[in-house]
Structure formats: C-alpha cells, structure tokens
C-alpha cells in the first residue's frame, strides 16, 4: 500500500471516528443522558484500533497486520450505522454488531505478518468468520428490538422469525461455542508464541499479555450477557476498557522495535571501541537484534572467477534456502551485494531495525569482509601449497619407480652377467679376480642406488604405514635410535609423508651434525593431531633456519601443522612436529 493511499485511509478513518461519536447527537436532538465513561471506552477501543492499525501499516508496510487492525476498528464502529435514521440502516448496523470480534480473531492468529501460517490457522480463522456470520444471520432473523425510546426507524427489517424470547434463548445457547472459539484463538496465539524463536517471541509477547485478558473479558462478557454468569454490573463499569487496551499490545511491540533501534547506537559504540574481529561482529549483531542465530556472510572473489559467499573464517558458505526459517538481508555496495546477514525470518518484519543495524555496522562489516577475503585467499594459498607438496611427492614416487624399473634392473642384469662370467673364467685367476672386483663394485653401486631410491620415496611408508617406516628409518640411522612409540594405524598419505620426513631428517641431523649417541622417536596421536617428537643427546645448537629443517617446516605448514626445534647448546635437540591427521 502506498503512503499516499495510507494517508487517505487515515483521513477516512478519522472521519469515521468523528461521525461515529457525533452520529447520535446529529440524528436525534434529545440523545442522552449518556454514561460518559462507558461511551468513552467504547469509542476509544474502536479509535485505538484504527489509530494503532494505521501506525502499524505506516511503519511496517509489508505486514498486513496494520490493515487488519484498521478493519477491526471499522467493524467496531459498524454498529453506529444504526444511528442513520432509516430502518434498513438500523437493521444492517445492528446485525454487524459483533463482527469486529471475528476480524480481531483474524488479526490475532495472523500476527505479526498479517498472513496465516498454515492450515490450522486458516481453519481457526474460517471458524471465527463462519460462526460470526451464522450468529449474524440468526440474530438478524430473530431479533425484535425493544427500546425505551421508540424512534421511528428502530425496527429490525430482517426480523421475520420467532420472538424476542426465542432470540434470547438462541443467544444464550450460542454463547458456549463462542467462548470455546475464543479459547481456541487464544490457544493458537499461545502456541505460536511457544513455537517461535527468541526474536519471534519478543514480537509476539505483547500480543499474548494483552490478548489473553481480552479473551477472558470477551468470554465473561458473552456469558454474563446471556445470564450464564453474574457480574454484569462490574462488567458495565469496566466497559470496553480491556478492548481499548488491546491495540496497545501491538503498539508496545512497535515501541520495542524503536527501543531496539536505541541498541543500534550501542552497537556503534561497541564496534568503535575495539577493532572487532569478524566473529565478534556476529556476536554483537546477535545481541543487538536479539537473534542468536545471526551470521554475517561475505561475498568474496572465488578461485574459479565470479564471487562466492564465505563465513568469517573464510570457509565457503551457502545462503539458506527459502522456507528454512532463516532470511537473508544483503548489504550492497554500488548495487552489488558485498555481504549478507543470515538471520531469523521474523526479523524481516522489522526492516528499519535491520537497515539501521546494517548502516551502523557497515564499517565493521567492510572490515570483516576484507578479513574474510584475506582468510579465503590464505586458505587458497594453503591449499595450493599442500597441492605443491603433494605434487612433489608424486613426482618423487615416479622417479623412484623409474629408477627401480630402469637403471636398477639394468645394473642387476649386469651384476648377473659378471657373476656368470666370473664362474666361466675358472681357468684364468687374474680375469676371475678382476670380474669379482667388478661384481663387488657393482653391488655397491646397486646398494647406493637403492638408498637413493629409498630416500626419494620410502616404499615401506606407502606399503606398511608410518610405524613400520619409522622403525626402518631408526634401524638405518647412523646413530642408535629407538622408536618409543608409534601408532600402527594409517593416516593420510600427506600426513604420513610429513611425519616420516620429520623423523628421517631429524635422525640424519642427529648423526651428521649433533654427534649424538642416542636418538629417541615418539609419535603419538591426540585427537585430530599427530605429534611427532625426535630427541637426541647431541651437542644441540641446531639452526632451525637450516635448509633441511626449513624444508621440513614448509612441508608441515603446508598441511596446517607446526614444527618447532629446541636445541640449546650442549643439551641435545628436540624436533617436534604437530600435524593435523583427521579426526
């Protein structure tokens, strides 16, 4: 609804209120005496529905609840049509007397969006309208008004059936289903409240506080009106005051929104106090908007071109699908979304609050987005580093296989040939000795080649796993080494390779540089981390920036792990690596 037509509707509503109050005084010169408080309360109830409904429609244009409340106000004043001095108008006005209750039930059940949520809600509202319509018909056909002032037009033109006595009996019986229906409506609102998320509950709460007493009032009024309950005097004194108070339940909801806009100011202060990390921004927004589920997603360039959403840690994230109870508010820059607030769907009913929050948090969101972008890039770099290490490993494995299938086989063949020649040269001792020397030399070459292949890619690692490979490395080490602990389970090839190279490099250093007499290897898994520790009793003073250790640190870091070297002069060296190895 446009603002312009809303203004026109507001003016029309104002005219209706004025005409309704003034009506009796205009049509009959001797109107009164009037019970001023009762009359005031009745007019105030209808007027406040119209006024609060109008404010609601103005402040929440996308919710129909404001219009529905205005309809309640209109229906409330419908009975005043009876004061038009005409029998038909009187009859129509009288018949419409209680329709406002059905419209109010509709407003209750569809609060806060003005739209009915599901089949059960639609059924409740259909029952309310159906029952009101049925009562209207029965009443119109059987009501025979008896008034102290017999104005000429007071006559029910539809009242063709039965007597006033019959009408009273019917209404007395009908009050029971009416009260039951009121109870159903109240129960529906309470069940909405129970099922709502925290921000949804805060919106519904004023309706529950104000709606339940009004429901009770309405039920009691119904029952005492037909004589089922006493206390008509008290009710007359209270009059329509509870109904007049009802719209203020709605108004309080609106004011709460305004109060929370004050919290937006707090958000600005809070975000200004410290350079907020992205996670802190989520928490601050959750507090201000009263929605613990709120998350900010950032739109960053994706590796494959285009743009994708990532969360504060730079991990790719999906916007929620429609119908999941979550909604998305995008933060735009130059017409392009740069971030998105994923929040409880009920917050969409408060666009100004969201807008104000986004405006207040804009700078922080921009910062967090840049942070998320950097993290996403970092994640990309980390992934590519891991890929490079893996590619290098694959290449080493390929070279090892080539050595094995190529040079090694040829040298083997050569060594067999020499041995055959050696045994064939039995007669010539000199030749036999020369061939024997050549065969031994070749055996050395083969053994060196095997060492080289082993260093390139330890077959035992892929074949039997980390523990077996580490034990083999310890046996081959130039310094006596013991494997105190090593898990027999298998890990990812990357983690196994990194752990193995840490051990073999540390053992090689212990022998080559540290002049150690003993080394000790301990590998332990704890949670998702593999902790590799190699300690020796050598001279210490190892340079962590030395090329071997730097290469190791790079390999470990590529997996998201850490490598540390403690090597005080004279007190041995401890190389420790922590590697993620899956949960």
């Amino acid at each position: 609804m446009s603002r312009r037509s809303l203004i026109l509707i507001g003016l029309a509503g104002l005219a209706i209120v004025i005409l309704s109050i003034a009506g009796p005084y205009l049509t009959v010169h001797d109107y009164g005496p009037v019970d001023i408080p009762v009359d005031l309360a009745a007019n105030a109830a209808g007027a406040s529905f119209l006024a609060v409904g109008w404010v609601g429609a103005w402040r929440r244009p996308q919710s129909r609840i404001g219009l529905l409340m205005m309809a309640v106000g209109l229906a409330w004043f419908a009975v005043r049509v009876s004061w038009i001095p005409n029998a038909l108008a009187f009859s129509v006005g009288a018949a419409l007397n209680n329709m406002w209750a059905a419209v109010l039930a509709h407003a209750f059940v569809s609060f806060p969006s003005g739209r009915l949520r599901d089949r059960r809600d639609r059924l409740v509202v259909a029952l309310a309208y159906g029952w009101a319509l049925a009562l209207l018909l029965v009443n119109a056909l059987t009501w025979h008004p008896v008034f102290s002032r017999p104005y000429a037009w007071i006559h029910n033109v539809f009242g063709v059936l039965g007597t006033q006595h019959l009408n009273a009996e019917i209404m007395r019986v009908a009050s029971v289903p009416t009260v039951a229906l009121v109870a159903v409506v109240v129960a529906t609102v309470i069940s909405h409240w129970r099922r709502a998320t925290p921000p949804g509950r805060r919106v519904l709460a004023p309706l529950v506080w104000s709606g339940v007493p009004v429901g009770v009032w309405f039920a009691v009024q119904q029952l005492s009106g037909v004589g089922w309950l006493g206390g008509a005097g008290v009710l007359a004194a209270v009059g329509s005051a509870p109904a007049a108070a009802l719209p203020f339940g709605f108004l309080i909801g609106l004011l709460r929104t305004r109060l929370r806009r004050g919290a937006v100011g707090d958000l600005v202060v809070e975000l200004g106090k410290r350079a907020a990390p992205a996670e802190h921004l989520d928490a601050a927004l959750a507090r201000v908007l009263g929605d613990p589920t709120i998350r900010v997603l950032y739109r960053v360039p994706s590796p494959s071109g285009g743009r994708v959403y990532v969360d504060a840690s730079g991990q790719p994230a999906q916007l929620p699908e429609a119908g999941t109870g979550s909604s998305v508010t995008t933060v735009d820059q130059g017409g392009e979304p740069v971030a998105a607030l994923v929040h409880d769907a009920s917050l969409s009913d408060e666009p100004e609050l969201l807008e104000a929050t986004v405006a207040a948090a804009r700078l922080a969101i921009d910062n967090a987005r840049l942070q998320a972008e950097v993290r996403a890039q970092l994640e990309k770099v980390r992934a590519s580093r891991a890929r490079i290490v893996r590619a290098a490993d694959v290449e080493r494995q390929r070279i090892e296989r080539n050595l094995h299938d190529g040079a090694q086989q040829r040298l083997l063949a050569l060594s067999f040939a020499l041995r055959m020649a050696e045994s064939a040269a039995d007669g010539d001792a000199e030749l036999k000795a020369a061939l024997g020397d050549a065969a031994n030399e070749l055996k050395e070459a083969l053994s060196e080649l095997r060492e080289l292949a082993q260093g390139l890619h330890p077959e035992v690692l892929t074949r039997s796993g980390l523990a077996a490979a580490v034990r083999a490395a310890a046996r081959r080490a130039s310094v006596p080494a013991e494997v105190a602990e090593a898990p027999e389970e298998r890990f990812s090839p990357d983690a196994e390779a990194a752990a193995y190279y840490v051990v073999s490099e540390a053992l090689a250093n212990a022998g080559k540089h540290a002049s150690a007499t003993l080394a000790r290897v301990c590998i332990r898994r704890s949670g998702g981390m593999l902790r590799v520790e190699v300690a020796d009793d050598g001279v210490g003073g190892a340079d962590a920036a030395g090329s071997g250790l730097t290469g190791l640190a790079d390999r470990v870091a590529a997996l998201g792990g850490t490598l540390s070297v403690a090597s005080p002069p004279g007190a041995g060296t401890v190389v420790t690596a922590e590697l993620p190895c899956g949960a």
Binding site: H404, E451, S464
Partner: protein, 126 residues
C-alpha cells in the same frame, strides 16, 4: 626339489635368473609375468619352488603367495624377491613367514638355504 618357476615382470631379470639358477642346478620349468599367470603356471607345472617378485603389475606378491600356498595337493615352497630395500616388506614378511632374497644376492645356493629354513641372506630376520 629343484623344479622352479620364476615370477617377475622384468624380462631381463627373468633371463638372468634363469641362467644363474640353471647354472646352480635348478630346472626352471616355467615363467610368469604377473599374479594371474603365476597362479595358472604353478597349477600347470606343479613346481617345487616359486621365486616370486614382491610387486607384480596386477597384484601384490604376498596375495599371490597366499593363493599359491592354498594350492592342492602339494603347495610349492615360495621365496620372495625384490630389488627394493627389504625394509619395505619386513612387516609383511614377518606376518607371512616367508623367506626373502634380495635380487642381487640371488643364487641357487641362496634359495636352497632359504628353503631349508637356514639363515636368510638378506632376509627379514637377519
């Protein structure tokens, strides 16, 4: 006890192993290049010994060894071999309880020694 089948995917090795073993008094009664043909060949010629490469193009030598050892009526003796470092296979060798000879140490006497359950030159428990 001298009928032997050589299972290895490297042709040069088969040629020289045949020559070396023949020189040492073995009768090479068959050759195979992979696991599947090894099983078929052994079933056909019923050798006393199979010299089996640990890594074959289609199968792991240890799996092939399990198949051969399940043969009826008389399974052959099996000696595993490889040109790779024995450390890669120690765990499997210990589990399977099979002898191993490094390729460059291959000779008829080495095989006889291993079959006899004696000390294992280049073997797993040396």
């Amino acid at each position: 006890m001298n009928r032997i089948v050589i299972v290895d995917d490297h042709q040069a090795f088969r040629v020289w192993a045949r020559a070396v073993l023949a020189a040492d008094g073995f009768r090479v009664v068959g050759e195979a290049v992979d696991g599947a043909s090894a099983v078929a060949e052994v079933r056909a010629v019923q050798p006393d010994v199979v010299l089996l490469d640990v890594q074959l193009p289609d199968a792991d030598g240890f799996e092939v060894a399990d198949l051969l050892l399940a043969a009826r009526p008389q399974p052959p003796a099996i000696v595993l071999t490889s040109s790779r470092d024995v450390s890669a296979y120690e765990a499997d060798l210990a589990r399977a309880g099979l002898p191993f000879v490094a390729k460059e140490d291959l000779s008829g006497s080495a095989i006889r020694l291993l079959m006899g359950g004696g000390a294992c030159p280049g073997g797993p428990l040396s």
